[in-house]
C-alpha cells in the first residue's frame, strides 16, 4: 500500500522533490534534480570586480566554479561561525555550474506544485512560497540566481 503511494508520488508530475536548506532563520528549497553534490565549505579565491554576493571561485575536480553566498544574495543575516556551512553545487538549465553557500541543509521534501503560492514579482529570484509542516519555505528560482553570474544573461 505504501509502495503504491510512493509510486504514485514518484510518477505524479505535480510533485517535485526539493532539497530544503536554511539561510539564517529562513528556509529555502530547490529541486533536487538540479543539485550535483553537497560539499563542505572551503576557502575560495576572491574574484576581482565580483558582486558582493560572490564569495569566489573553487576547484571542483578540475572545473572552476563560483560560489554564491546566499545569505548576502538574499539579504539575510547569516549565522555567525557556523561549522555546518556547506556549498550546494547546482547546475542550471543552461549548464552553468555554481555553488550556493547555505547555513545548513535540513532535509528533503515532496512538494506539490498545487500548494505553491506564487510570488507575483516578475524576475524575482523567488518562484513561490510553500508551507511544509507549518514552516514557510521559499522556492528559489535557480536559473535567475545562476543566470546573474553569467554576464550576458543579465544586464546590470
Amino acid at each position: 500500500m505504501t509502495e503504491q503511494i510512493e509510486l504514485k508520488r514518484a510518477t505524479d508530475p505535480k510533485i517535485v522533490k526539493m532539497i530544503v536548506f536554511a539561510i539564517g532563520v529562513q528556509e529555502y528549497c530547490i529541486p533536487i534534480l538540479s543539485v550535483r553534490e553537497i560539499r563542505g565549505f572551503e576557502k575560495t579565491t576572491t574574484l576581482p570586480f565580483a558582486p558582493p554576493y560572490v564569495c569566489g571561485a573553487i576547484n571542483l575536480r578540475g572545473i572552476i566554479l563560483t560560489v554564491i553566498d546566499l545569505a548576502i544574495y538574499l539579504n539575510v543575516p547569516p549565522q555567525p561561525d557556523n561549522p555546518r556551512r556547506v556549498a550546494v553545487i547546482v547546475e542550471s538549465k543552461d549548464g552553468v555550474v555554481c555553488g550556493l553557500l547555505v547555513d545548513r541543509v535540513i532535509d528533503m521534501a515532496d512538494i506539490d506544485l498545487k500548494d505553491v503560492q506564487a510570488v507575483s514579482e516578475e524576475g524575482s529570484c523567488l518562484a513561490g512560497l510553500v508551507l511544509v509542516d507549518d514552516r514557510m519555505i521559499g522556492i528559489l528560482r535557480l536559473d535567475t540566481v545562476v543566470g546573474q553570474l553569467v554576464g550576458d544573461t543579465v544586464s546590470e
Binding site: T45, T46, P48, F49, N59, G62, I63
Partner: protein
C-alpha cells in the same frame, strides 16, 4: 553506418590533402610518375569510397576528374600550367562536393558543370596534342560526355573530327563517335498515378550508362505542353530523348523499362552518328526547331537562360533544355524533374569545413604514452611502499622517487602534447585555395609558396589559425600585391609571390606571411588614420606604430569595398584572433619591396609558463612571456600625477605604475603612502606598451594548466583564465594586455613611447 561514413570523410580529407600536395608539386614543374600516380590514386580512392556510400554527385564528378587525370598518367598530355590550374579548380569543386555530402553547403551546379567541361576539354585537347585522334581517345571522351547542352553536336557530325574547342565553348562536347543508343520515352499519366516518376527511369538509364563507363545525354521535349491556362496539373506532357553511350546494350536498356512498359511509350533505337540530327520520332515533331533555337545563342547566354540543373541528384547528365526558364518552371507538370532549384551563389561563401571531432594519431605516439603510463603506475606503487617506511634511508628514497615521478609527469605531458600535435599542413594547403580564389576575383597572378608545413602545433591552434590566415592572405592578394601592370612598371616580375611559412622558435611557433608587393604606404596609412579619427593629426608615430595602425578597428585604406576586403574589419579581427590564442603580430614593411607579417604563437593553449605572485591576499599567475623584468622600486623614480596615479621611470623609460590589488579591486585598503621598496613587475603587451605592476610578493615560477573561468562565470576584466595550484586552490591568470591598455588609457590615450613631454 554513420561511423563508417565519418571515416570515409576523414579519408576524403586526407586524400584531398594528398591531391593538393601532388598538384602543387606538379605546378612546380615536378612531373614524376609517382606524383601523377599519387594524384590519380587520391581521386580514385574518393570515387571508390563515394560509390560504396551512394554519393552520386561525388562519384560522377570524381569519375570525370579521374578520367582526365588518366590522360595525364598515360602521358597523353603534359602537366602544363593551364592543365594543372584546371585540375586545381576541379579539386576545389571536389572538396566542396565532399563537404556537401557531409552535410555542408550545397555546391552551385553551374560550377560543377563548368569544371566538368574544363576537364573534358583538357582530355580532348590533350588527345589532339599527340595527334592521334584514335579510337582510344574517342572512347576516353565518351565517359565525360554528358553536356548540359546535349543537342549541340552538329559541328561533330559535320566533319567527324575532334575539334579543338575554345575554353569559352567548354560547355559543348563532341557527340559520341560510335553508334549510340537513342531512347525516346514518354510517360503516361498512369505512370505518375502509380506513384512512379520519370526521373527514376532517367536515373536508371544513367546508372546503366555509368556501368559501361559512360554518361547519358538527355533532352526534354515539352512541345506538347499546353499554355499555362490550359495545363492540367496531373497530366503528363513531356517526352525525353536520351542518348546512351554505344557500349550500352539494348537488353539492359529494355530492362530499365521493365516495370513501366505499360505506362509509357518508349523506343530504343541504335543509330550511327551520321544521322545524328534528331529524326522525326514519336512525339518529337518540334525537335529540330528546338535544336536550332537552343544552339543559336552563345553558350554563356544559354547557360544563364537555363535554370540550374533541375535535378539535384543528377545535375549534369539530366539537364532539361529550357530556353524560357520561367515559363518552363511554371509549365512543368508535377512529378516531372522540377524539384526545388539547388542553392546557388552562397555556396562558395559557405564552403567551410565542419570541425573535425576526431584525429588520427601515429601508433607509436600512443605506444609512447602507454609506456609512460606504465612507468607512472610503477612509480606510484614505489612511492606508496616507500611512504610506509619510517627510517631515514626510506625518506631519502621517497624524495628520489618523487623527483622521478616529476620527470615522468613532464614526459607524459609531452607525450600527450605530441598526440594532439598536428602539422600545419592541413591549414596551409587550404590557403592555396584561398589565394587561388582571391586571385581569380582580383585578376592577379600570384603564386603562394608554402614552407615548413610539417611544423607541428596543437590541433586546437591549427583549427583556429584558419580564419586569421584566410584574412591575411586575402589582404595580401587584394592590397599587398600590386596589379600586374603596376608590377611590370615597377620592374618586378608580373607574377606576384607570397610565402607562407611556419617554424618553431624557442618554444613558440612562428608563422610568417611574406609578399613581394608594394609594401605599406605609411604616408597614406597615417593620413587615413587621421581622417578616420583614429589618431590626432599632430601625433608623432614611429614607422612601426604606423604599420600597427592597420590593425585598428575601422581602419581601411581601400578606396572601394570589394568582395575580398576593404571594410576595415579584417585586420582588427585577425589581431583579436591571434591575441586570443596568446600570440602577437609583428609587421615589417619595405616600400616597393613587400610586407612581412609574423604571428608568434604558443605551442599549446593548455599549458602556460607563469609567475606566481601575491597581491591583495590572492595568489595570481602572470604569463612569463609578458614579463620583462622584476625589480624593487626607489621612491625617487616615482612621479605622482595630478589624478592620483603614478608613473615610474626605469632607465629613462616612463611607464604607468599599477597597484595590482587596487586595480583589480581586491583590497579595500588604500595603497600604501610610500611606494618605496615595493616589488614591481615590468610587463609588456603585444604592441610593446609597458607598465609596472606593484605586487606584494613574488612566490614562484611554474607551469600551470589553463582552465576556463567563463564557462561558469562572466568575463572578468584583467583576468584571462584561471588555473589550479598544487594545493588545489584556484588561482587567476592575469590578462596583462588588458591591464596595460587600461593603465595607458588612464594616463594618455596616445600609443606608448610617444609621450616626449611626459618623459621629460
Amino acid at each position: 553506418m554513420d561511423d563508417i561514413l565519418q571515416i570515409f570523410f576523414q579519408e576524403c580529407d586526407e586524400q584531398l590533402q594528398e591531391l593538393e600536395r601532388g598538384l602543387s608539386a606538379l605546378s612546380d614543374g615536378e612531373s614524376e610518375h609517382e606524383t601523377v600516380n599519387a594524384v590519380f590514386r587520391a581521386v580514385h580512392s574518393i570515387k571508390g569510397g563515394a560509390a560504396s556510400f551512394g554519393l552520386d554527385n561525388l562519384v560522377r564528378f570524381s569519375h570525370v576528374f579521374e578520367n582526365s587525370l588518366d590522360g595525364l598518367r598515360s602521358g597523353r598530355f603534359a602537366p602544363t600550367h593551364d592543365v594543372v590550374k584546371t585540375f586545381l579548380k576541379a579539386m576545389d569543386v571536389l572538396s566542396d562536393l565532399v563537404n556537401e555530402a557531409r552535410g555542408g553547403a550545397a555546391v552551385d551546379p553551374t560550377r560543377v558543370a563548368e569544371s566538368h567541361a574544363e576537364l573534358a576539354a583538357i582530355n580532348r585537347t590533350g588527345g589532339d596534342h599527340d595527334g592521334t585522334a584514335s579510337a582510344a581517345t574517342t572512347e576516353d571522351v565518351i565517359p565525360v560526355d554528358f553536356s548540359p547542352v546535349p543537342i549541340d553536336f552538329e559541328p561533330v557530325t559535320a566533319d567527324f573530327e575532334p575539334i579543338p574547342f575554345d575554353f569559352d565553348f567548354g560547355e559543348e562536347k563532341p557527340a559520341p563517335a560510335a553508334a549510340a543508343l537513342r531512347v525516346t520515352f514518354h510517360p503516361h499519366d498512369a505512370l505518375y498515378e502509380r506513384g512512379d516518376d520519370a526521373r527514376n527511369i532517367l536515373i536508371g538509364l544513367a546508372d546503366i550508362a555509368r556501368e559501361c563507363g559512360g554518361e547519358i545525354q538527355t533532352s526534354c521535349d515539352w512541345s506538347a505542353l499546353p499554355p499555362l491556362a490550359d495545363l492540367v496539373p496531373d497530366k503528363s506532357y513531356l517526352t525525353w530523348h536520351i542518348v546512351l553511350p554505344p557500349e550500352v546494350s539494348e537488353e539492359s536498356t529494355n530492362a530499365v523499362f521493365d516495370w513501366v512498359s505499360e505506362d509509357c511509350d518508349f523506343s530504343i533505337v541504335r543509330e550511327s552518328t551520321e544521322d545524328e540530327i534528331p529524326p522525326e520520332q514519336d512525339g518529337g515533331q518540334a525537335e529540330p526547331a528546338e535544336t536550332e533555337a537552343a544552339a543559336a545563342p552563345p553558350p554563356e547566354e544559354e547557360r544563364a537562360a537555363e535554370p540550374p540543373a533541375p535535378e539535384p541528384a543528377l545535375p549534369p547528365p539530366v539537364e532539361a533544355l529550357f530556353p524560357m526558364p520561367v515559363a518552363a518552371a511554371l509549365d512543368l507538370p508535377p512529378g516531372s524533374t522540377a524539384t526545388p532549384p539547388p542553392v546557388t551563389g552562397a555556396a562558395q561563401a559557405a564552403a567551410r569545413k565542419p570541425e573535425q571531432a576526431s584525429i588520427r594519431v601515429d601508433l607509436h605516439r600512443i605506444d609512447d604514452l602507454m609506456d609512460l603510463v606504465g612507468e607512472l603506475v610503477i612509480a606510484q606503487a614505489a612511492i606508496e611502499s616507500l611512504s610506509r617506511r619510517t627510517d631515514a634511508a626510506g625518506q631519502h628514497e621517497l624524495v628520489q622517487s618523487i623527483s622521478s615521478m616529476q620527470s615522468l609527469t613532464r614526459d607524459i605531458q609531452d607525450a600527450v602534447m605530441a598526440v594532439r600535435a598536428q602539422p600545419v599542413r592541413a591549414v596551409f594547403q587550404r590557403m592555396q585555395r584561398v589565394v587561388r580564389e582571391a586571385c581569380s576575383m582580383t585578376g592577379k597572378d600570384i603564386v603562394l609558396t608554402l614552407e615548413g608545413e610539417d611544423t607541428e602545433v596543437d590541433r586546437t591552434l591549427v583549427e583556429k589559425l584558419t580564419d586569421p590566415l584566410t584574412h591575411m592572405l586575402r589582404n595580401a592578394v587584394d592590397h599587398g600585391i600590386e596589379s600586374t601592370e603596376a608590377r611590370i612598371a615597377a620592374g618586378k616580375p608580373a607574377e606576384g609571390h607570397i610565402v607562407l611559412s611556419a617554424e618553431h622558435r624557442s618554444g613558440r611557433i612562428l608563422i610568417t606571411i611574406k609578399d613581394d608587393g608594394a609594401g605599406i604606404n605609411r604616408q597614406r596609412v597615417f593620413e587615413t588614420a587621421v581622417k578616420r579619427g583614429i589618431i590626432p593629426p599632430n601625433a608623432v608615430l614611429s614607422d612601426d606604430e604606423i604599420n600597427n595602425l592597420i590593425f585598428m578597428p575601422g581602419f581601411s585604406t581601400a578606396a572601394t569595398v570589394s568582395n575580398l576586403s576593404g571594410r576595415g574589419v579584417g585586420m582588427d579581427v585577425v589581431k583579436q584572433a591571434i591575441q586570443s590564442l596568446g600570440g602577437r603580430i609583428t609587421i615589417s614593411s619595405t616600400p616597393g619591396k613587400g610586407t612581412t607579417f609574423g604571428f608568434s604563437l604558443p605551442l599549446t593553449l593548455a599549458i602556460l609558463d607563469g609567475m606566481l605572485i601575491v597581491a591583495g591576499g590572492s595568489t595570481m599567475v602572470i604569463p612569463i612571456s609578458s614579463i620583462i623584468e622584476t625589480m624593487i622600486v626607489k621612491q625617487s623614480d616615482i612621479y605622482a600625477l595630478p589624478d592620483g596615479s603614478n608613473v615610474i621611470s626605469i632607465r629613462g623609460d616612463c611607464m604607468p605604475l599599477i597597484p595590482l590589488a587596487t586595480a583589480l579591486k581586491l583590497s579595500d585598503a588604500p595603497p600604501r603612502d610610500s611606494l618605496d621598496a615595493s616589488i614591481i613587475l615590468v610587463v609588456e603587451n603585444e604592441s610593446g606598451a609597458r607598465a609596472a605592476l606593484i605586487v606584494d610578493e613574488i612566490r614562484d615560477q611554474t607551469q600551470v594548466v589553463i582552465k576556463s573561468i567563463e564557462s561558469n562565470y562572466r568575463q572578468i576584466f584583467g583576468v584571462s583564465a584561471a588555473t589550479i595550484l598544487g594545493d588545489g586552490s584556484v588561482s587567476l591568470i592575469l590578462d596583462v594586455s588588458a591591464l596595460v591598455a587600461s593603465a595607458i588609457g588612464h594616463i594618455d590615450s596616445k600609443p606608448s613611447n610617444t609621450r616626449p613631454e611626459l618623459a621629460a
